[in-house]
Amino acid sequence: MPKIRVQVDPDLCIGAASCVTIAPETFQMNDENKAWVLDHGEEPGGSTYERWLEVTEDEMENIILGAQSCPTLAIFIFDEEGTQLFPDV
């Protein structure tokens, strides 16, 4: 299973919640109207804007779709080697 690092930049996040609509298992809005990153709906180790996730190919595709849907490109996704998968650089 691919391992990815998902990171939300709270400075860029405007709370549009598109990511939550597409990938609710991975993103959830907090009280500051910013998106926390979840691990399959859970928050092991507490709430955070950044975490490593072990996901299936389908899940990964959906998380990338969630990131793509963000109007402010506030979501960054990296693979195990640290290569940025999204946004394209």
């Binding site: 405007i14 809005m29 009280d31 109207n33 849907s69 109007p71």
Partner: protein, 394 residues
């Protein structure tokens, strides 16, 4: 299969990209009024504030279209639709035939009747560049004007505040988002702005601009307001002139069914321009936000390639202005609701309005009450009534 997409914004482009993914051989043409490859209009605010560099605003590079064998026609608009012979005549003089046509032309800012250098609109990256140019010419402490009471006015408010510039704000009614907010919620927004140092003029109609070539001020009932830039956000207008005689049904937008199909075979609409039958909210409406446009673009591609599934989304949008967090969920038109319930109060600094129709929640406006978001989103999806909801009180 020959797909013709009129409009290269997020709805049209998302559709084009999805169509390419599902059919490697299809011919896809995107007719784009803009000269730039796809970028995020929502990021323009961040770009103006210097939070992201200009190149980060772009979602696609110019060579992307070519790499994906999508014919991209920048700087081009549609001028005439012939539904009988199934072609569109474009501003480049050519006639483009289609098997399936998508209309995703969006809208343009409603302009003032008057113009001077110093008047700013905010829709495109060119508008943003123009505004940056105007700002760079300002003397220290120059006063900024804003005319309007919607999302665009908020963008200007946030930008001018970030730059530490004094602001004069005028609008016609007594409150922001007058179709969505009740008086008390409107009062909360006004209070936040006035406490933030904004000189606020409600019930004000812009009567004229002052200045020879360069803007010096604008005139409202209370007199001349001296400003050197005026940000205008008084709504948007779609352009349907090229659809005249085509027989496409038009109301507030281009009318579609729940599959985003218009009344004309093989003609579809998506994004800000579509007045679609929303099966979640149970009425025909236009939703103008990024999330809706992107989701409809993705969805309409499915329908265009033969998958007959209804579009379903509880749309949301939010904006932060002077520290006030405003969240809009679902259907937030007061005139379309049977009841609008208010939770919270002006005194507590947080107000949530819950919109109910046929005894079920269809929308919510949350001002400084982010915590109600999940509750209301779920209520809309699950067709609950307001009386079933349990709010957290202060």
């Amino acid at each position: 299969m020959r797909y013709l997409i009129i409009g290269g914004g997020i709805a049209g482009m998302t559709a084009g990209e999805a169509l390419r993914k599902s059919d490697a051989k299809a011919e896809i043409t995107i007719v784009d009024e803009e000269q730039h490859p796809l970028y995020s209009r929502v990021l323009l605010g961040h770009y103006l504030k210097g939070k992201v560099p200009r190149e980060r605003v772009f979602l696609k590079q110019e060579d992307w279209y070519h790499q994906h064998t999508i014919e991209w026609l920048p700087g081009t608009i549609a001028e005439h639709l012939d539904v009988k012979n199934k072609f569109v005549r474009l501003s480049n003089g050519r006639e483009y035939p289609y098997d399936k046509l998508l209309i995703a032309t969006g809208t343009a800012p409603r302009p003032l009747d008057v113009d001077l250098r110093g008047v700013s609109y905010l829709r495109t990256i060119d508008d943003a560049d123009h505004l940056l140019q105007l700002l760079s010419e300002q003397k220290k402490g120059a006063r900024m004007g804003i005319y309007g009471s919607g999302f665009i006015a908020c963008e200007y408010l946030e930008l001018f505040r970030e730059l530490g510039l004094p602001i004069t704000l005028a609008f016609r009614g007594d409150r922001f988002w007058s179709r969505a907010l009740l008086p008390e919620a409107g009062e909360l927004v006004n209070k936040v702005l006035v406490e933030g140092g904004v000189e606020l003029h409600t019930h004000s109609n812009l009567q004229d601009l002052v200045g020879e070539k360069e803007l010096k001020g604008f005139v409202i009932e209370e007199g001349t307001q001296e400003v050197s830039i005026l940000g205008v956000g008084i709504g948007v207008v779609p352009d349907f002139t090229w659809l005249a005689d085509a027989g496409v049904e038009i109301g507030k937008g281009i009318k579609t069914d729940e599959f985003l199909q218009t009344n004309v075979p093989d003609v579809f609409a998506a994004g800000d321009v579509a007045e679609f039958k929303d099966v979640v909210l149970g009425r025909q409406l236009v939703i103008m936000n990024w999330q809706n446009a992107m989701s409809q673009g993705r969805h309409v591609a499915k329908v265009m390639s033969g998958e007959q599934v209804p579009f379903e989304l509880v749309s949301s949008y939010s904006i932060n202005v002077f520290g006030l967090e405003a969240i809009f969920l679902g259907d937030v038109e007061v005139s379309e609701a049977d009841e609008v319930y208010v939770v919270g109060s002006l005194e507590s600094g947080g107000i949530t309005q819950v919109f109910e129709r046929n005894k079920r929640v269809v929308g919510g406006v949350l001002l400084n009450r982010n915590r109600d978001r999940i509750l209301i989103t779920k209520a809309i999806k699950n067709k609950q009534s307001f009386s079933e909801l349990e709010f957290v009180t202060d």
